[in-house]
């Protein structure tokens, strides 16, 4: 009779678990309370069935337990009973289906007054595009996508000139206005999902899918990718910030349009050279780095990477963690570059410095490191050459610096800041380097890689083992 007791306990336990579980739908932040309602209806109907059928079963097992002096009843079927049960089931199913279809009809029809934003997925990164003042999106084409044109904008399309392009994975939306998201993928399948909004939809390369919702609560909500998109799937995160209308408008106005981005002047290395003097004190006149000053080599580093790090140091995204003492030294120095133009100029100058090989100071098991590097190579390239498309810099950095940063990433010293979206990705990946020896091994292997001077891009991807 243990079985009967256990079945009864499981019924009770399941029901209790349902009501007491701290894990349930996150507090709703959109108009889709009807989805929650449909879930409730389904819970009531199915919960009843669960309790009744299982209880009946437990009772039957108890009541009709084996007794060698008794015989089972001979009743091959009972048409009436079967039809009644079928009828009840059909009614229950209809009760669940009806609200479901009703709400779905609402979901597929976007309200007329919805404003639009385009969400662009790519391997392990989100970016966004607003249609701008004209309310129309400019044409895009997959074949136009390049490092300079990550959205694949068609240059001459007049509709596209005022489009606002947001490359960083943070989206702002106004509260209490229906929002239609046009979903597009540059490479593989992705899925845009915000738990608090309830809705989600796949992004499929080659077509534009959509979803809509109306945010009803101010706040920041995480966007997760929920369709497997490769090795960095779990690090593909973004943020939706729900603002008051005026805050949203102000924010949107501060963002550059496509035309403005096209018109931004390039950095001037001549001017940059003067500004570099402050950097040279630590990083060396040739940008060769100085281990004694804990300043890494910067010569040869990609411009976009340096720009992002300077931005981070300036805004306290990096170098603000109490355990990041060397980052803390860099932070005030970064402030000397007062505006974007200054940053661009310095980067233009650094770009002219000769790339030199750093001395090797880290020892480790290269073979073991190679195994570990399988994971790294997906983003940083199998030659360590860096891949702009996944925001992964090349790894021809000082090896002592790599070791320190890997530890920082792993230990939450770097990449833990809320706004460090790319550092967060690296931090999640660095979790596989739980012991320090693994870090040394992988860095020792990185030391053997040709880096950006090696065979670039697709060739290296193909050559991987």
């Amino acid at each position: 009779m243990v079985l009967v007791v256990v079945v009864v306990l499981l019924i009770i336990g399941t029901v209790l678990f349902h009501f007491l579980s701290p894990w349930y739908l996150t507090p709703l932040a959109s108009n889709w309370d009807t989805i929650d309602l449909t879930i409730d209806v389904t819970f009531w109907v199915t919960g009843l069935v669960f309790i009744v059928v299982n209880s009946f079963m437990a009772w039957a097992i108890y009541k009709y337990r084996y007794d060698k002096n008794r015989r089972a009843e001979y009743e091959p079927e009972n048409k009436k009973l079967e039809w009644i049960l079928t009828g009840f089931t059909a009614v229950g199913v209809a009760a669940m289906l009806a609200p479901g279809l009703f709400v779905w009809a609402e979901f597929v029809t976007v309200p007329e007054d919805a404003h639009e934003v385009e969400v662009v997925g790519q391997q392990w990164h989100w970016s966004f595009r607003y249609p701008g003042k004209d309310g129309k999106f400019g044409a895009v084409e997959s074949r136009y996508v390049s490092e300079d044109n990550p959205f694949g904008m068609e240059k001459d399309d007049p509709n596209g000139q005022d489009d606002v392009l947001i490359f960083s994975p943070t989206l702002h939306v106004p509260i209490n206005k229906p929002l239609k998201m046009n979903l597009r993928s540059k490479d593989v399948l992705h899925n845009v999902a915000v738990a608090q909004f309830r809705v989600k939809m796949d992004m499929v390369p080659g077509l534009v899918s959509y979803l809509w919702f109306e945010p009803i609560k101010l706040g920041e909500y995480e966007i997760l990718c929920e369709e497997l998109c490769g090795i960095g799937h779990h690090t593909m995160r973004g943020m939706v910030v729900v603002d008051e209308q005026e805050d949203f408008d102000a924010w949107l106005d501060s963002q550059p349009t496509y035309a403005e981005i096209l018109g931004t002047p390039k950095g001037d290395p001549q001017i940059g050279q003067a500004q570099y003097a402050a950097c040279a004190a630590c990083h060396g006149f040739q940008g060769e780095g100085n281990p004694l000053m804990n300043a890494p080599k910067i010569a040869g580093q990609e411009g976009w990477y340096i720009r992002r790090q300077i931005e981070y140091f300036k805004t306290g995204v990096r170098g603000a963690h109490p355990s990041d003492e060397f980052g803390a030294q860099m932070a005030p120095m970064a402030m000397t570059l007062i505006d974007d133009a200054a940053v661009n100029n310095v980067i233009a100058y650094i770009d002219t410095l000769p790339q030199v090989d750093s001395p090797q100071t880290v020892e480790g098991d290269v073979e073991r490191g190679k195994d570990i590097y399988t994971t790294c190579g997906h983003c940083h390239g199998y030659e360590g050459e860096g891949v702009f498309a996944v925001n992964a810099p090349h790894l021809a950095m000082d090896d002592w610096y790599l070791v320190r940063q890997l530890k920082n990433f792993r230990d939450g010293v770097r990449g833990a800041h809320r706004d460090d979206k790319y550092g967060m990705q690296m931090a999640m990946m660095a979790a596989i380097l739980q012991d320090d020896q693994r870090i040394n091994d992988v860095v020792a292997y990185i030391n053997t890689l040709p880096g950006p001077q090696g065979d670039m891009g697709a060739a290296s991807v193909a050559s991987r083992e």
Binding site: I39, D187, H234
Partner: protein, 595 residues
């Protein structure tokens, strides 16, 4: 066997079964390795399937370690995680469950239960197994090629299945697709046998409606598999061409890690349609044999006719037919035309009705029965419980609206493991404990069986019940690690750790099973020919284990498979091959069964 003769009957018998020359092994190799006897092939299928299933189980444990304790272990990295996700799923669904239910139980039970000497095409049947074995070996080989096994998820969605950024996009995915194609070819050979044997080789008197539900389940599942596997075959060929020759069936114009590709205009959604056109019937390919088997186990051990036999048969057929028009409920949020949602939500919820009827009838079989709680019986009852739970959560996901928040979360994982993993596996165990005495002549040990049941049943419930609630919270599947998220409660990580521990408990429980399987063969209690006092033909064989050819004289069937506790007959069961005249004397001392 040429001396076998039938009674001289003066009527045209149903499905006159001609005696055919049986295959006779001449060498040791022919008897135990390249054997054409369905029973040996069944054992070969089962052992291979269980062997590869154990590999998949170990993979799942490694994944659970990572998910439960992301900072304590660095055994696997994200590539391994995705590879294990993929291989675990594919192995469990196809190479374990499909092969075990159809290749294993199908081969063993169909000829015995319909009263045939063997499958109708024994040679093709043997080839079927060897092709399956090659498919398994090719699959295993994919772990060892450069780049490793594919990590595209068991659904193998393009473009990522063959695009950089996913593990195993070279050798891994190619071997996976080749292995699937081989499996399908092998299965088709076996499947033809199962269908034709059921249709044409039933013994005299075994009309369709006298067949045990096990046969109905396996038969319908085979029909589904024969018609649905071509969809997987087609998608495998097309993806291979995309990968190897550079066609654009599924591959759209796209960028890959910043590089332009040469693909143009293909449709990833087309693949999903093809895949799920196979993938959804596949669910029932696994479930229908389980439905059938559990019906028989319940009936035997409750000493009562299965309740509503005709309804059960029709439910199997209805579920099978409907299973072809629900596939896109896997694709509500795939970006396909959202208006399809209305149709597929409706068909999906309609299929719940025949399924619910089956559940009622199982429970009603217990009602007014005389229930012996043997080990197979408690597994069968455990199945009813987990299946109700898993079926109910299917009503959530099938209802298109509720799928919006829940798809691609842990809720999905919990749902399909409850309904497609735990439930059928409980039936597999019920079936093994039930038929082991026929296969070996020995009982399996009762105490070990009880331990096995409780650890498996309670352990898996502890894994999957809470997992649904992680899904409600919005925790996505196929994540190597969760990192920091605002909406995820801190306690979710603790729950994940607890789930991992439960998973290890379940895995530990399986040791009891394997030990039992092994030791009972040598030390098990002698079972005799019909230890459960069952009516179906496999228990009426003159020898246990049945010899080559199964029966001396082919049995004559006089009744359906569920004559338990028939009024007017003293013995509480009447085997199918007992004539009405003989039945009256059953249990009255002299009325021993005719075998």
């Amino acid at each position: 066997m040429s001396d076998v003769t039938h009674d001289a009957l003066d009527y045209v018998p149903p499905l006159e079964v001609e005696e055919e020359e049986l295959y006779h092994a001449k060498t040791w190799l022919g008897k135990y390795v390249f054997c054409q006897d369905a029973k040996v092939i069944a054992i070969q299928y089962s052992l291979t399937a269980i062997g590869i299933g154990v590999v998949a189980l170990v993979l799942s444990l490694l994944m659970r370690l990572q998910l439960g304790f992301p900072h304590e272990f660095s055994i696997i990295d994200p590539s391994n995680y995705l590879q294990f996700v993929t291989m675990h799923g594919m192995i469990m669904v196809i190479y374990l469950l499909t092969a075990l239910f159809l290749g294993g139980f199908g081969n063993y039970l169909i000829p015995l239960m319909v009263g045939a000497r063997d499958m109708v095409f024994p040679y093709v049947n043997m080839i079927s197994y060897w092709v399956y074995l090659v498919a398994v070996l090719v699959l295993v080989a994919s772990f060892f090629v450069p780049g490793g096994a594919t990590g595209a998820g068991w659904t193998l969605y393009p473009p990522q299945a063959i695009s950089p950024g996913t593990p195993g996009i070279d050798g891994g995915i190619i071997l996976m697709l080749v292995s699937l194609a081989l499996f399908i070819i092998g299965f088709t050979m076996g499947g033809l046998n199962y269908v034709v044997t059921v249709l044409q080789a039933r013994t005299r008197g075994m009309s369709l409606m006298r067949m045990p539900l096990t046969i109905w389940g396996i038969f319908m599942a085979t029909v589904l598999a024969l018609l649905a596997f071509p969809a997987l075959f087609v998608s495998a060929i097309m993806m291979l061409l995309d990968k190897l020759i550079g066609t654009s069936f599924f591959m759209p114009a796209m960028i890959s890690l910043g590089e332009q590709t040469s693909f143009d205009g293909g449709s990833p959604i087309l693949f999903q349609h093809l895949f799920w056109f196979f993938g959804h019937p596949e669910v029932y390919i696994v479930a229908l044999p389980a439905f059938g088997i559990v019906s028989d186990v319940l009936s035997v051990h409750a000493r009562k006719a299965i309740f509503g036999y005709r309804m059960m048969v029709w439910a199997i057929v209805a579920i099978g037919a409907l299973s072809f028009i629900v596939w896109a409920h896997h694709m509500y949020v795939s970006g396909m035309n959202p208006y399809f949602g209305f149709f597929f939500a409706t068909t999906t919820l309609i299929i719940a009705v025949p399924t619910a009827i089956k559940v009622y009838n199982w429970v009603l079989t217990l009602w007014r029965g005389n229930i012996k709680l043997t080990v197979p019986m408690i597994f069968a009852i455990g199945f009813i419980f987990t299946f109700i739970n898993g079926g109910i959560t299917g009503l959530f996901l099938g209802n298109v609206t509720i799928d919006l928040p829940l798809s691609d979360t842990y809720f999905v994982i919990a749902h399909f493991h409850m309904v497609m993993a735990v439930s059928p596996v409980l039936v597999v165990f019920a079936a093994i404990y039930h038929w082991y005495p026929k296969i070996t002549g020995k009982f399996m040990d009762d105490t070990l069986g009880q331990w096995h049941f409780w650890l498996t049943f309670l352990g898996s419930y502890a894994i999957y019940l809470p997992m649904h609630y992680l899904g409600f919270e919005g925790i996505p599947r196929r994540y190597f690690a969760y990192g920091e998220t605002d909406f995820m409660s801190a306690s979710a990580a603790d729950l994940n750790a607890a789930i991992t521990i439960a998973a290890f408990v379940v895995a530990f429980g399986q040791l009891f099973f394997f030990w039992n399987l092994f030791i009972s063969y040598f030390r098990g209690k002698e079972a005799g020919g019909n230890p459960w006092e069952a009516t179906t033909l496999e228990w009426q064989t003159p020898h246990t284990p049945p010899r080559h050819g199964n029966f001396d004289d082919l049995p004559l069937v006089y009744r359906w498979a569920y004559d338990y506790s028939v009024p007017g007959v003293e013995q509480d069961y009447v085997p199918q091959n007992v004539s009405p005249a003989e039945a009256e004397n059953l249990g009255k001392g002299g009325g021993e069964q005719p075998t």
